[in-house]
C-alpha cells in the first residue's frame, strides 16, 4: 500500500514525511524523523513517556497516528530549549535532581510545560493530577513536583 505524504510543523519547522496508515506518531518521530527524544515506555497510552503537544494540546504520541499530524503544529522535547538556552523547566529539573535514569524526563517536561501554559499557578495537588499520566519509577515524583512548582513560581515572578 502506498505511503501517505504528510506536511506538518515540528518544533516550528515545516516537515514532510511519508508514513503508513497504521504508523503511530511516536513511530514516525522516532523511526522516520530520528527524533528519539520522545520515548516509548508502553505504546498503550499508560506511561506518558511519549508526550508531545499538538497545537498546544498534550497528547500521547503513541495514541496518535502519523497521518493525523497533517496541518498541525507539533512540539517535542527537542524543541523545548531555545538553542543552548534551556527552558526554565529543564533548568529546574537539573537543579532539583528531578531525574535519575532520565527516560521519563522528556515526557514530564513536555507535560509540565503544557500544565504551566494552562495554569501558571498550580497547587501541588493540581500538578500531581496533571502529571498522573506520566510514570516515573525512579524518583518517587517528589523532586519532579518540587521542580515544577518552583519553575511556576519563578516564571510568575519573571512575567
Amino acid at each position: 500500500m502506498a505511503k501517505h505524504h504528510i506536511s506538518t510543523t515540528i518544533n516550528g519547522e515545516p516537515v514532510e514525511f511519508l508514513c503508513n496508515t497504521e504508523q503511530t506518531m511516536l513511530d514516525v518521530l522516532r523511526d522516520e524523523l530520528h527524533l528519539t527524544g520522545t520515548k516509548e515506555g508502553c505504546a498503550t497510552g499508560d506511561c506518558g513517556a511519549c508526550s508531545i503537544t499538538v497545537d498546544g494540546r498534550l497528547v500521547c504520541s503513541c495514541l496518535m497516528l502519523g497521518v493525523e499530524a497533517e496541518g498541525h503544529a507539533i512540539q517535542t522535547i527537542e524543541g523545548m530549549a531555545d538553542g543552548d538556552q534551556l527552558h526554565p523547566l529543564q533548568q529546574k529539573f537539573l537543579e532539583y535532581a528531578a531525574l535519575q535514569c532520565g527516560i521519563c524526563t522528556p515526557g514530564f517536561l513536555v507535560a509540565s510545560r503544557a500544565l504551566l501554559e494552562r495554569n501558571p499557578n498550580p497547587t501541588e495537588e493540581e500538578a500531581r493530577y496533571w502529571l498522573a499520566g506520566n510514570l516515573c519509577r525512579c524518583t518517587g515524583y517528589d523532586k519532579i513536583i518540587r521542580a515544577v512548582l518552583d519553575t511556576a513560581a519563578d516564571m510568575r515572578g519573571a512575567s
Binding site: T36, G37, A43, T44, A97, L99, L131, T139
Partner: protein, 760 residues
C-alpha cells in the same frame, strides 16, 4: 578536619548539576531503543502462549519464505550448555538455565517464554513471520502459586530437579530446588525464656521492577566473528560475559557499548535479547535491533519473587526480643534461583538477636524467572518480621520505635546473620524518626501511623577507573558502570575532590568494554562505593604523577612536594621557595616533563558498609472502598557519607515509592490457564504522582571506614521497610492486621467487611 575526624571536603557533599543532565533534559541522550545502525533489521520474539508445554516441534519454513524475512532462529541455533555455576547479580546462576530462559529448548515454562525469533526488513514482515512460525505444543498442567508448587503431585517443571539441602537426597524430582537453614545459637531454648510469643504467616506477591524503558539492543556480527553490541543494561561487562558464555564466543571478540539505561533496579542484570540479536545478525549478515514491548517486559522479563513468610518471635515483658524463627518459601519463577538466601539473612538483621533460625525454600513455578530487584529477598522477609514486631509492640503496649530502639543492632552487635557489626547507623535512623515532626502529627479517624526498619548488606566488588589529565588542565574520568541514577556526578565529584579542581572541569564517561578495565555490574548499591574507590585511587595516582612533575620542574625530591587545592606547592620552607604550580600549569607542560598524565586503578573492593533505614508512614483508610491513602511518608537512612545528597535522597524516595506500590497495588494476575492477565501499566498499576505525598527524607551519616569518603550504598535499603510500615499503619488506622500483599482496595474492603461481621 571535621569533628568526626574525616577530612574537610570541598566537593563531596555538595549538589552540582549532573554532567549528563543537559543531554537528558533535551532528549539528546541515547537510550537502548534510540540507537541504530545503517541497514539494521527489526528483530522480534515469538513467545509461548502456554504456561507449561512441551515443544514437540517448530516449523519455521513458512516464516522464512516471507519476503523481507532475513533470519529465523530457535534454541537449536544456540549451543546447548551443560550446568555450570557462576556468580552473577543475585546469586549463583546456572548458564544452562540462563540459556533456556533466553530461548526455550524442550519445554516452554511460562506464558511469555521465548520460543523463536525473527529478523526482517520491516516490523510488518517480522510480525508476519512470527505469525507463520508453527509450534507444535503439548500443553501440560501448570502451577503458579508457590505453596501449590510444593505439594506432592504438583506439575513438575524440571524432571532433573531434586531438592538440595535435604537429607536423605530425594528420590523423586520436585519443584523445590533447594532448602537452606541458617542457624545461630539455640532457638528452641531461647523461646523457653520468652514471656510473649508472636507467630503468624504473611504472604507477598511477585512484583516487577517496572523500569520505564523496555529492554532494547542492537547487535552486529561481522564476517570475521567480531561482535558489537549496543544496549542498555546494568553492566556492559555483564552483557559481554553472558553473551560469550551463552553463545560460546571468546570475550575478546565481543565489544559492548553501553547506552543510557532507563531504569533497571536489578531487572537489567541479565540478558534476554542480546544473545538472540547476535544469532539473528550472524544468520542474516545484517545488524539487528530488538526492543521489547511493555507486554513482553511483563510476560518475559524478571519480576522479583513472591513468597510466604512464617514468623515466630519471642520477647520478654520488658520488650527484649530473645528469639526469632522464620520459614520463607520464595518462588523463583521457571528456573531455580530466588533470592531466598539474602531473604533469610536479612530477616532479623535489624535486631540484636543471638538465637535465630531461618529456613528457606527456593521453589520453581510456571512464571517468568525472577531477576534481582533492589535488596533482593529482603523486602519479603522484612514484611513478615516487621509486621510481627509491630504486633509485639501492640501486645506489650510499647511504642514501636522504642521497642526497636531497645533491640536495635549497633556497633559490636553480633548480626542476626552472624558477623559482628562495625560502624552502622541503625539506631541513628530510628532516632531520626523519633525526632522528626511527622512522628507527633495528630491523627484523625481512620488514620494510622506505621513504622518499620530495614537492612541491606551492600556490596563492593571489582571495578576499574581511568583518569586522564588533559593538556588544558581538565580531566576525563572513565569507568565501566552504567549511570542509572546520577553516578557520573558522584564519580566526577570524587575525582574533583582528589584533584582539587572544580567538578565542572571533570568529564565523567561510561566507557565501552574495550576502553576501560573490567567493572562488575551496576547493582547491589556498589558503584559509589567500589567504582568510587577506583576513581579515588586513580585520581590519587594522577596527583602523585603531578607532584612528580612539579618536583622535576623545581628539581627537588618528590616528597618535598605537596598537593593543595589543585596546586603543587613546596612542602614547607626547607623544600625551597617556588611559586605553586597549578594542575593547569603542570598539564600544559606535561609533554615536556615526561609525557601525558594518565592513571588507572583496578581493584576488588571489600567491606561495603551495611545500610539501615527506618520508615514512618501515615495513612487514611476509606472503609467504604478499601482505598488506602498515604498522607505522610518519612524515610530515614544511613548513607555513610552522601556524596551528592540530592541523588541520595532521590534513591531513598524512589525506593520508598516502589515499596508503596508493592504494598498497595502491584501484583501479577493469572487466569486459570496460567496466562498473565495484566501485562501493562494500566492493570499492573505502579504509583503515580497523584497517589503520593512528598516523600520526606532524613539522611544520617555514620561514615563507612572502608571508603575514602565514608560512603555506603544507598539504593537498596529504601525498598525494604515500606511494606511492613504500610501494613502497620493500616492496622493502626482500622485495627485490622493485613497479612497479604498487595493491600489493594478489594482486599482491604473484604477485611473491613469481615471485621464488621465478626463484631455483630
Amino acid at each position: 578536619m571535621a569533628p568526626d575526624g574525616t577530612p574537610d571536603l570541598k566537593v563531596v557533599g555538595t549538589r552540582p548539576i549532573r554532567p549528563d543532565g543537559v543531554d537528558k533534559v533535551t532528549g539528546r541522550a541515547q537510550f537502548g531503543a534510540d540507537f541504530q545502525l545503517p541497514g539494521q533489521l527489526v528483530g522480534k520474539v515469538l513467545r509461548s502462549p502456554h504456561a507449561h508445554a512441551r515443544i514437540r516441534s517448530i516449523d519455521t519454513s513458512k516464516a522464512e519464505a516471507i519476503p523481507g524475512v532475513k533470519a529465523v532462529m530457535t534454541a537449536a541455533d544456540m549451543p546447548e550448555i551443560t550446568s555450570e555455576e557462576a556468580f552473577v547479580g543475585e546469586g549463583p546462576a546456572d548458564f544452562k538455565d540462563m540459556s533456556g530462559n533466553t530461548m526455550a529448548r524442550d519445554k516452554a515454562l511460562y506464558d511469555g517464554h521465548a520460543v523463536a525469533a525473527v529478523a526482517a526488513t520491516s516490523a510488518a514482515a517480522a510480525d508476519a513471520a512470527l505469525a507463520a512460525i508453527e509450534v507444535d505444543y503439548e500443553v501440560l498442567p501448570h502451577v503458579i502459586d508457590v505453596e501449590d508448587a510444593m505439594v506432592e503431585g504438583a506439575p513438575v517443571l524440571h524432571d532433573d530437579m531434586f531438592t538440595s539441602g535435604v537429607d536423605p537426597k530425594p528420590a523423586t524430582p520436585s519443584n523445590v530446588a533447594k532448602r537452606m537453614v541458617f542457624e545461630l545459637g539455640d532457638v528452641d531454648a531461647a523461646f523457653e525464656k520468652a514471656d510473649i510469643v508472636i507467630e503468624r504467616k504473611y504472604k507477598t506477591a511477585p512484583v516487577h521492577q517496572g523500569y520505564i524503558e523496555p529492554h532494547a539492543c542492537v547487535a552486529q556480527y561481522a564476517a570475521d566473528g567480531q561482535v558489537q553490541i549496543y544496549c542498555s543494561s546494568q553492566g556492559q561487562f555483564m552483557v559481554r560475559a553472558y553473551v560469550a558464555k551463552l553463545l560460546g564466543i571468546d570475550i575478546s571478540e565481543i565489544r559492548v557499548t553501553p547506552l543510557e539505561i532507563g531504569g533497571g533496579f536489578g531487572g537489567k542484570t541479565l540478558v534476554y535479547l542480546e544473545p538472540l540479536a547476535v544469532v539473528l545478525s550472524r544468520k542474516s549478515g545484517r545488524p539487528v535491533k530488538m526492543a521489547m514491548t511493555r507486554e513482553e517486559v511483563f510476560r518475559g522479563s524478571g519480576p522479583t519473587s513472591g513468597g510466604t513468610v512464617w514468623v515466630k518471635i519471642g520477647a520478654k515483658r520488658d520488650g527484649t526480643i530473645v528469639a526469632g524463627d522464620a520459614v520463607l518459601k520464595f518462588q523463583a519463577g521457571a528456573y531455580a534461583g530466588s533470592p531466598v538466601g539474602p531473604g533469610c539473612m536479612t530477616a532479623f538483621a535489624v535486631y540484636d538477636l543471638q538465637d535465630v533460625r531461618i529456613t528457606g525454600y527456593d521453589v520453581v513455578t510456571n512464571r517468568p524467572k525472577v531477576a534481582a530487584y533492589r535488596a533482593p529477598g529482603a523486602p519479603i522477609s522484612n514484611f513478615g518480621v516487621e509486621s510481627a514486631v509491630d504486633e509485639l509492640a501492640r501486645e506489650l503496649d510499647m511504642d514501636p520505635v522504642e521497642l526497636r530502639l531497645k533491640n536495635a543492632a549497633k556497633k559490636g552487635t553480633k548480626a542476626a546473620y552472624g558477623p559482628t557489626f562495625g560502624d552502622i547507623g541503625c539506631v541513628e535512623t530510628l532516632e531520626a524518626v523519633k525526632n522528626h515532626p511527622n512522628y507527633n502529627v495528630p491523627l484523625g479517624p481512620n488514620q494510622g501511623r506505621g513504622v518499620a526498619a530495614g537492612f541491606w548488606f551492600n556490596i563492593g566488588g571489582e571495578s576499574s577507573a581511568t583518569v586522564n589529565i588533559n593538556e588544558d588542565g581538565t580531566a576525563v574520568v572513565a569507568t565501566g558502570n552504567p549511570d542509572i541514577g546520577g553516578s557520573r556526578a558522584s564519580m566526577a565529584m570524587m575525582a574533583a575532590e582528589v584533584l582539587g579542581i572544580d567538578v565542572e572541569r571533570v568529564r565523567p564517561i561510561v566507557a565501552d568494554t574495550s576502553s576501560v578495565g573490567y567493572c562488575f555490574l551496576t547493582g547491589g548499591s556498589r558503584v559509589t562505593f567500589a567504582t568510587g574507590m577506583a576513581v579515588v585511587e586513580a585520581s590519587k595516582s594522577a596527583v602523585n604523577e603531578l607532584k612528580a612533575r612539579a618536583a622535576k620542574t623545581w628539581d627537588i625530591p618528590v616528597d618535598a612536594v605537596e598537593w593543595e587545592d589543585g596546586r603543587a606547592v613546596p612542602a614547607g620552607s626547607n623544600a625551597g621557595d617556588f611559586e605553586p604550580l597549578s594542575l593547569e600549569d603542570l598539564a600544559a607542560k606535561s609533554g615536556r616533563t615526561g609525557g601525558p598524565i594518565a592513571a588507572t586503578s583496578s581493584l576488588n573492593a571489600q567491606g561495603a558498609g551495611p545500610g539501615f533505614g527506618t520508615h514512618l508512614v501515615d495513612v487514611e483508610v476509606d472503609r467504604e472502598t478499601g482505598h488506602v491513602k498515604v498522607l505522610r511518608y518519612l524515610a530515614t537512612q544511613d548513607a555513610g557519607r552522601a556524596i551528592h545528597p540530592s541523588y541520595v535522597e532521590g534513591q531513598i524516595q524512589g525506593g520508598a515509592v516502589q515499596g508503596i506500590g508493592w504494598a498497595l497495588n502491584e501484583e501479577y494476575i493469572y487466569d486459570d490457564k496460567g496466562r498473565l492477565e495484566n501485562p501493562g501499566f494500566l492493570d499492573y498499576r505502579i504509583p503515580v504522582a497523584s497517589d503520593l505525598p512528598m516523600i520526606d527524607t532524613v539522611v544520617v551519616e555514620v561514615p563507612n571506614p572502608r571508603h575514602p569518603y565514608g560512603a555506603r550504598g544507598v539504593g537498596e535499603v529504601p525498598i525494604v521497610p515500606p511494606m511492613a510500615a504500610m501494613a502497620n499503619a493500616i492496622q493502626d488506622a482500622i485495627g485490622i492486621r493485613m497479612t497479604e500483599l498487595p493491600m489493594s482496595p478489594p482486599k482491604v474492603r473484604k477485611a473491613v467487611d469481615e471485621q464488621a461481621a465478626a463484631e455483630e
